[in-house]
């Protein structure tokens, strides 16, 4: 799907064409639902994404023609989801609890390997939960939502350099936590 198509749809939607906007919803709903899911959890993600699409339609006049639509939309989704999230839910729990799945392996793991893998996995998740939200959001954007550095900057409203530095610090922390855990195992 070309960017030009998006631009045409956006311009039509800005003029009040709901059918054009419906096509944009179809194109970006997957990303929107994923973004909402990392903030409010899977069970509430669809409601949040739907609400965000409705609100984004009303904000379309603020969207600058020619700029990337995806990060703009996901910023709306993230804001709506955050507002809907009344608890301090941790996004690592949005999908499953630690230890429910083993780390994928290229060979049949032994019982000891599986136990160690579960321990490491649980450690990463536990460490994620202790990260400050500003770090966790960057990690979620880059690794879970697979956003580019520039998109992450736009969605979170921070500079690209800040994305880099926060991601680096977050990974360092996770790595150190994992090392400590493994050495003590």
């Amino acid at each position: 799907m070309s960017t030009t198509d998006d631009l045409e749809l956006i311009e039509r939607a800005k003029r009040g064409n709901v059918e054009a906007y419906e096509e944009l919803v179809r194109r970006y709903q997957h990303d929107a639902r994923r973004t909402a899911a990392v903030i409010v959890g899977v069970s509430l993600a669809d409601d949040a994404a739907q609400e965000a699409f409705v609100r984004a339609f009303g904000f379309l006049h603020r969207f600058r023609s020619g700029s990337p639509f995806r990060p703009w939309l996901l910023a709306v989704v993230a804001n709506v989801a955050r507002n809907q999230s009344r608890s301090t839910r941790r996004w690592t729990r949005a999908v499953r609890a630690p230890g429910e799945r083993g780390i994928s392996a290229t060979h049949a793991p032994s019982a000891e390997d599986e136990a160690l893998a579960r321990r490491r996995e649980g450690t990463v998740r536990a460490a994620l939960d202790t990260l400050p939200i500003r770090y966790r959001d960057v990690v979620a954007c880059r690794y879970v939502l697979d956003l580019s550095e520039a998109e992450t900057a736009q969605v979170l409203g921070i500079a690209r350099g800040t994305v880099k530095s926060r991601l680096s610090r977050a990974l360092d922390r996770l790595e150190r936590q994992l090392d400590r855990e493994v050495h003590h195992a």
């Binding site: 009040g16 919803v25 709903q29 990392v38 899977v42 904000f59 990463v124 921070i158 493994v182």
Partner: protein, 259 residues
Amino acid sequence: MPESNSRLLVESELRAFSHELDAALEPLDLSSAVTRRLEESSARIRPRERVRRRRLVAALAATLAVAATLAIPPARAAVTNFLEVGAVRVHEAPPPGGRATAGPLRLGELTALDAARARMAAVVPAARGLGSPDEVWFDGTAGGVTSLVYRAGRGLPAAKNTDGIRLLVQEFTGDGSGFLHKYLTNGSHAQQVAVGPYDSVFITGGDHFLAYDAATGEGVTADGRLVGNALIFQREGLTIRIEGDLPLARMVSIGASLR
């Protein structure tokens, strides 16, 4: 375990979340539901309404500009409900709910002028005696906001409710419809003036209430703050807001010196 292996494991685990999300989200098409809601709420005509409203406001502003100055008395039974200047909307009314309490100043992240200029076409006052800003802040929301902070010195009087800031110059990009709201409270009034070739609004005479839209414009946030004198104008794609306890002439001079 070598450090690189730890990093790989961490990254592998993080990417695993992404796949789990896909698996956890049931296939669903939101488009019909969104369309239905838009039609039910009549939201489909909002963009057109906004265009009409903005044209009306532009026409009103042009009419007002014919006069050299226009004083808008406080608490007047308004002919107009608001006046838009770039990214700022001045409401001739108290804030929603009547709340008017000092809240936090939101500037984004501390940065350097060059870094801010890499993100937007920020300008800096060249007014005599002002010097360079003590701090430069950048907020990437709503198209980008650069804030120049001047603290003590340079003959700047202390201003209230500004966290020790004596002069604040904020520059907003974007199409700027209502990113900032100013609510005139008792005693404050708006005066239309010129900053070089640009129409401007100077707010003085009492506290007025500043409220921010959320990052992507989803309504006015709950908290705002009371500010003193403010000069607002739009130039070359930027909305400029100068805040401080300075007389009109000094603020206009600073505004006109932006380079």
